[in-house]
Each structure stands twice: as structure tokens, then as C-alpha cells.
């Protein structure tokens, strides 16, 4: 009998204590779970949180960083990325995608596309409220829906943004230095598919 | 214990047994498997009384069943493992004696290997498919297995759909009939190396 009573004492203690818990969206401070009124109140987003990928552009949507190299599409474990390279009028391949689709019904949020991308063009977003009126077409996101500015990235992941900007600046400097040292660079070959 | 030691000890115990060392594993004939495992389990020298893992591998020319044995006795027995045993059988007649009489732990793992690779473990008390459903054809983990193309309707699918009152478009029907007349099934195309 004593064991049951002791257990009841513990539940009673917890019941009373639950009225004095600080209502903060932090499990460590509140000592566990606390109910938040979700759409109005939200948990703070962790910086490394990853959900679905997005494509990044620097200033305007036309000069996106993606060069349609197809690496992310090849590395994607569930193969949810579909890329078609753009051509110019003469039919020569351009360094940008014509079609860039991601099937969010297939994507499993692993973040391998972000890791594999050599141009820092695709990143995992914090957006998790993704929905559609039906199950197929509305969840295949096209390029115009996936494109987001670099300022968005700077907002959601400030630490990574600083590191990546630093890295890109260094690369650009190196390129400029190489261009100065060698005034006539050889014609750049289009990257192999 | 190194595989070479284990090999020499087994050869001393069973004269005439054929054992090869491949990748630190002992390759033996299927008919020797049970007595070797029983000996490894009971002999005070080995005490390999814990069958950790059974799996099968398809090497295209033959199928191979792999056994990892460890010991649950105190050290030094427990740290001596694993002793890896291998048995090779031809693809068209893959039969290996079952280890269930020696180790109960082989029961589900052998069923899994049978389900996925089609190795028949003779003497298994209940050798049925474990993950795939009854009536499933083929063995999915064999290298020559191609899955059914779920996007293409076959003639049986058309019949089933029409019986249940679904109207099937004429072009699908025609294609299904063509498949049936040609005696083919809709199989998914494996992606070519270039696509990957």
C-alpha cells in the first residue's frame, strides 16, 4: 500500500508544481514540457534546424548561385530533385537551371544536398508549414517558389551566413588575383554533367 | 583467435574437412556446417555460444550464407570473436542445413535470408516469408531481381479494376493486352549507370 501512496504523493507534488512553472518556450528552464498556444506563440527556431531546401540568390532572382551542375540531384538519397540546364539561343548550355523542382512529398530533410553543393546555392530552410490542397502537384515546388534572397538566409542562420560570406569573399579574391596574374584566361569549359 | 588457428583446430578435430580462409572467414561445405557449429559451441576451447548474425550475399555466380559467432562466456572467450563462417551454394539449388536445432536465434534470421535471397534452410521448423507477403514472387535482394513497375497496368489489374467498376482508359487497356499477348510482365527499368 505504501508504494501506491508514495506514487500518488509524487503525482500530487507534480500537479501542484505545474501551476508554478515558468511559461517559457525552453524545456530546460521549465523543467520539461509546457503548452504553447501554437499559431500565436511559437518556439524559437534553432539555427541548425533543417526542413526543406531552398535556392539562394544574391540580389535579384535572375542571378541565382545555382549553376545546374546536378550534384545535389545525384547525391539526394530519395532522388527528389529534378534539374534541367538552361540553354541560350544558340543551344549552348548556360550556367543556370531552366527547371529546378523539388518534390516535398519525397524529400526527407536530410540536408545532404546542402552539404554536397560546391557553390553554396542550396540550403535547408526553417519553413515547416508546408501544405497544399492536394497531395501531388501542389507539393512539387518549382524554381520560383524555391528562390529566396541571401538576406533570408542571413536572418535564419546568421552564423553560417557569416562563415559562407567570408568563404565566398576569399574565393572571389583568389579568382581576381589569378585573373590579374594571367591576363588572358583560357575559355572556361562548361562543367561536365 | 585468428582464423588460421581456428582452421587448424577444426581440421584436427574433423579429419578430411575442407576449409578455406577468405577475408578472415572460414569457408566450408554446407554438409559440414552443423557439426562445425555444434563443435564451436560446445568445445571448452571456443565456447562460441552466441550466434550474432546470419545473412546471405548474392555474388552472382553463387549465393553465400554468412554466420558471425561470438562467445558470451567471460573473457578471454568473449573477446576472441568473431569467428565468421561462410557457406556457398549454387544459385539454382540453394540448400543449406538450418542452424535452428543448435541456435534458436537462427529462426527469424534464416527466415529473413530465405525471404530476401531465396536460400532454403533445410530443417527449419517454419520456413516462410517473414517480411514480404505470402504469394510474393521472386527474391528482392538477389542482384537479378527487378521490381514490378507499379505505374503500368497489367491485364490482371485491368480485369480487377473493371470488375470493381473502374473505367480503364482504352490506351492502358491496349497496352496491357499487348503485354499479355507478348507474355511479358511490367518490370521496372533499372536506372542505367549514366542516370545515377
Amino acid at each position: 500500500m505504501f508504494g501506491v501512496l508514495r506514487g500518488m504523493g509524487i503525482t500530487f507534488k507534480n500537479f501542484v508544481a505545474s501551476y508554478f512553472l515558468p511559461r517559457k518556450p525552453n524545456s530546460l528552464e521549465t523543467g520539461g514540457m509546457v503548452t504553447l498556444q501554437y499559431p500565436e506563440e511559437r518556439l524559437p527556431e534553432k539555427e541548425r534546424f533543417r526542413n526543406f531546401p531552398f535556392l539562394i540568390y544574391d540580389t535579384k532572382p535572375d542571378d541565382l548561385r545555382c549553376v545546374a551542375c546536378d550534384i545535389c540531384a545525384k547525391e539526394c538519397p530519395p532522388k527528389c530533385i529534378y534539374i534541367v540546364r538552361d540553354n541560350d539561343e544558340q543551344g549552348r548550355p548556360l550556367k543556370k537551371p531552366k527547371v529546378f523542382d523539388i518534390d516535398f512529398t519525397v524529400c526527407m530533410n536530410c540536408g545532404i544536398c546542402e552539404e554536397a553543393c560546391p557553390f553554396d546555392a542550396i540550403f535547408m530552410d526553417h519553413e515547416f508549414e508546408v501544405g497544399g490542397p492536394e497531395r501531388q502537384q501542389s507539393l512539387v515546388y518549382h524554381m520560383d517558389q524555391l528562390l529566396k534572397p541571401a538576406t533570408h538566409f542571413a536572418k535564419i542562420r546568421p552564423t553560417d551566413h557569416v562563415a559562407i560570406e567570408e568563404k565566398r569573399r576569399k574565393e572571389a579574391e583568389k579568382k581576381r588575383a589569378a585573373a590579374q596574374a594571367q591576363p588572358k584566361p583560357p575559355e572556361a569549359k562548361p562543367p561536365q554533367a | 583467435m585468428s582464423p588460421a588457428d581456428a582452421k587448424s583446430k577444426l581440421e584436427a578435430k574433423f579429419p578430411g574437412i575442407q576449409i578455406q580462409i577468405i577475408n578472415n572467414a572460414l569457408l566450408m561445405k554446407p554438409e559440414d556446417l552443423i557439426r562445425v557449429v555444434q563443435f564451436l559451441k560446445d568445445s571448452p576451447e571456443f565456447k562460441m555460444n552466441y550466434l550474432s548474425n546470419i545473412t546471405a550475399v548474392d555474388y552472382v555466380e553463387y549465393l553465400e550464407s554468412v554466420y558471425h559467432l561470438y562467445s558470451i562466456e567471460n573473457p578471454p572467450h568473449s573477446t576472441a570473436g568473431p569467428i565468421v563462417l561462410k557457406v556457398r551454394v549454387p544459385r539454382d539449388n540453394p540448400k543449406i542445413p538450418s542452424l535452428v536445432p543448435v541456435f534458436r536465434g537462427a529462426e527469424f534470421q534464416e527466415r529473413e535470408a530465405y525471404d530476401m535471397m531465396g536460400i532454403v534452410y533445410e530443417g527449419h521448423p517454419d520456413l516462410r516469408r517473414i517480411f514480404m507477403w505470402e504469394g510474393f514472387e521472386g527474391f528482392p535482394l538477389r542482384k537479378d531481381y527487378t521490381p514490378e513497375d507499379a505505374d503500368v497496368l497489367e491485364w490482371e489489374d485491368v480485369e480487377w479494376l473493371e470488375k470493381h467498376g473502374v473505367k480503364v482508359p482504352e490506351e492502358y487497356k491496349q497496352f496491357a493486352r499487348q503485354l499479355k499477348d507478348a507474355g511479358k510482365e511490367a518490370r521496372a527499368q533499372k536506372p542505367t549507370e549514366k542516370e545515377i
Binding site: G3, I71 | Y50, T55, D58, A106, R129, F131
Partner: protein
């Protein structure tokens, strides 16, 4: 006057428990034959969640399978990552830097806390203590999952380990928070035990139910807390001493009877040992690189990673038992063969032996005490 009792002819009744049944922890079916309410035969039927994990992995680069291993035992994605990384490191002979080893052990032990604390909660749910113990357990679990989210980006599908190290270093100040959790954990365990351990109802329902004898446990390849509850002194952390476990001090708790109560108690004791391990690791964690520089080069091109021809079997002590990965490489970017030794799948071998002679309600708690996750059982 009392009527003479009429003797009816009784038949055995065949009942399907599951696959859609809350007590089966997923889509698991038990085909039970009953004599009255006593079980005379029980056949587990699985495969409802089968997705041929092994075939998917054989058509994928080595790294590509890493996020899929998260989905095996979705409670313990860090341990699954650990097992897979260990197998690949054995296959390709990769060294792991010191700091990465320490962080891996921290993650593995935190995962063990998450798993054990929630499995006890679910076991109590099966017993009828509806949701009070599990919510207490989930309060602790929540703290740890928040840490996982902060480190790896996801609460459950962590995908954090890489071959030869880790994906990212720990963010600043997270170690302090882990320390705080570890410090508070024994207090929580005391409270949890006060709620449960001596509870008469729990004792009556669990003691001498579903006894797993030592010999059967060894012969049926049972591993993990379930085997140790039957007195099998086998902990791969001790035996193999993989990663840095050979340098750490901890004890392996063992049960005597092997019933459901022992399995509950072993998990509590193992959590106390995990806390001890965490305290040691957190004290000694060194600075340094988190990934082998040779492997860091493959981060941008996982398909260039081609282990040499050969085979390897890597195993870890996952919270549910021995989790092993058997890999055969043919020198290409994809494994020729990838096999998972799923602990909760093999632990189910003895389910029938444990349940025969008990009542239906006992079968539910025996299943709960085996601790299965269907993602792993059906892989």
C-alpha cells in the same frame, strides 16, 4: 439449492492482436490462440512497415544510407548512425579524431537515456497507468531532444555522424546545457523510481511474468537489456570497447529472474550507469578537429568515397541490443551488400516462449518489455 455446474465444450479461440492496435507499438500483428484467456500459441507476423532498407542502401552511395539508418529505430537515430559509421570505418580503415569520439559517446548515451526512459513510460502505458509516467518520461526526453535539435538540426532524424567524424562541431554553450541535464537526471530518476519501483500494482503485474531463462536467452541470440535482465553478462561496450568505451568506467547491471520487472529495473540501472559515463566524458572532452581530414574531403562529393574491396561487420550496443551492420564492398561507390542486424527484430524470437501460459493482458506487457520499434523490426 445450487445447480450442478454445466460443463461446456470449449474451443481454442484465435485472435489477431494488431496490426492496428495501440498496444503493439506500431503495425505489428500477433496471431494468438487462446484457451479461455490463456495463451496457448502466439505467432508474430511482421512486415507491414517493410521497405527493403537493405536494397535501398545497395542502390545508394555509402553516405546516402546514413539518413536512412535514422529511420530504422527512430527513437535512437544517433546510435544507428554510430553503428553504421563504425562499420564503414572498419571497412575503409578510417581513424576518428579524439573529440569526435567523445561527442559520439555523449550522443550515444543521451540516446540511451531517451530510449530507456520512454520505453518504461510505454511499458507503464501498456500496464494501464495511462500517460502519467510517460509524460514524466517525456519531460526529460524533451530536454534531450532539444539538445539534439540544436546540435544536429533535427529532433529525431539526426543524421549527425559522418564516416571519420561528425557533420558539425557542437554549437557554443551546448555542453553546459548537457551538463545541466546530466546533473538533473539522477534526481528525476529518483522521482521516477519513487513513482514506480515499489508500486504494488506494478510489482504484481510484472514480477514472475514472462520469464526468460538464461539458456534460452543465450541460445536465441537475445541482446541488450533484455538479455542482461536474464543474467547474461554481455555488453558490447565492455566486450569490444569500441570508440572510447574501453577508457570509461561503468558497470553492467544484471538481473536474476529475467521477468518483466527485471527488464524494467535493468533499464533504470542502465540509465544510472549512462549518467555516470556522461559525467566522465563531459569532464574530459578535449578540443580538436571533429572529422578526419581525409574524410572531410568527401563531404562535397560522397560518391567519390569508394572503400576498398572487402567486408566488415560493425556492431554497437544500441539501447535495444546489438545493432550490427554487415557491409560488403566491391570497390564501387555503392555497397554490394548491406545487412542490418536489427536487435528488436531478433529479440522477438522468444516472444512466443515468454507468452505461453500467460493471459492476454500479460502478452501486451511482455511485448512492451521487449522494447520493439517497428521501423527496425521490419527494416
Amino acid at each position: 439449492m445450487i445447480d450442478e455446474p454445466v460443463l461446456h465444450d470449449t474451443d481454442t479461440l484465435e485472435v489477431n492482436l494488431g496490426p492496428q492496435h495501440p498496444s503493439t507499438h506500431g503495425v505489428f500483428r500477433m496471431n494468438v490462440k487462446l484457451e479461455g484467456e490463456t495463451i496457448v500459441s502466439l505467432k508474430p507476423i511482421m512486415g507491414y512497415l517493410h521497405r527493403n532498407h537493405e536494397q535501398i542502401a545497395e542502390n545508394m552511395s555509402y553516405l546516402g544510407s546514413m539518413p536512412y539508418t535514422d529511420r530504422l529505430d527512430y527513437f535512437n537515430s544517433m546510435s544507428n548512425n554510430f553503428g553504421y559509421a563504425l562499420a564503414v570505418e572498419k571497412l575503409a580503415n578510417i581513424e576518428v579524431p579524439e573529440r569526435a569520439q567523445y561527442i559520439r559517446v555523449i550522443m550515444a548515451e543521451l540516446t540511451r537515456l531517451v530510449n530507456h526512459v520512454s520505453v518504461i513510460g510505454f511499458l507503464l502505458n501498456d500496464l494501464g497507468a495511462f500517460f502519467t509516467p510517460i509524460l514524466y518520461a517525456f519531460r526529460e526526453r524533451e530536454k534531450i531532444l532539444d539538445i539534439f535539435e540544436e546540435i544536429a538540426g533535427s529532433r529525431m532524424m539526426c543524421n549527425y555522424l559522418r564516416f571519420g567524424g561528425l557533420k558539425l562541431d557542437l554549437p557554443p554553450s551546448v555542453l553546459d546545457r548537457i551538463k545541466k541535464i546530466v546533473q538533473g537526471f539522477p534526481k528525476f530518476l529518483d522521482e521516477f523510481e519513487g513513482l514506480l519501483t515499489k508500486n504494488e500494482i506494478l510489482c504484481m503485474r510484472c514480477q514472475n511474468v514472462g520469464i526468460l531463462p538464461y539458456d534460452l536467452a543465450v541460445s536465441a541470440s537475445i541482446t541488450g537489456p533484455m538479455a542482461r535482465a536474464s543474467g547474461v553478462n554481455y555488453d558490447i561496450r565492455k566486450i569490444d570497447g569500441y570508440s572510447i568505451y574501453n577508457r570509461l568506467k561503468f558497470r553492467v547491471p544484471l538481473g536474476k529472474v529475467g521477468d518483466v520487472y527485471d527488464r524494467y529495473m535493468i533499464r533504470i540501472l542502465e540509465m544510472r550507469q549512462s549518467v555516470w559515463i556522461l559525467e566522465q566524458v563531459l569532464k574530459e572532452i578535449p578540443e580538436g578537429p571533429i572529422i578526419n581530414p581525409k574524410m572531410a574531403a568527401f563531404a562535397k562529393a560522397p560518391r567519390n568515397f569508394k572503400p576498398p574491396k572487402g567486408e566488415a561487420y560493425g556492431r554497437v550496443e544500441a539501447p535495444k541490443g546489438e545493432l550490427g551492420f554487415y557491409l560488403v564492398s566491391d570497390g564501387t561507390p555503392q555497397p554490394w551488400r548491406y545487412h542490418v542486424r536489427a536487435p528488436s527484430f531478433i529479440n522477438l524470437t522468444v516472444l512466443e516462449d515468454l507468452c505461453i501460459g500467460h493471459k492476454v493482458a500479460d502478452a501486451i506487457i511482455i511485448l512492451g518489455s521487449i522494447d520493439i520499434v517497428l521501423g527496425e523490426v521490419d527494416h
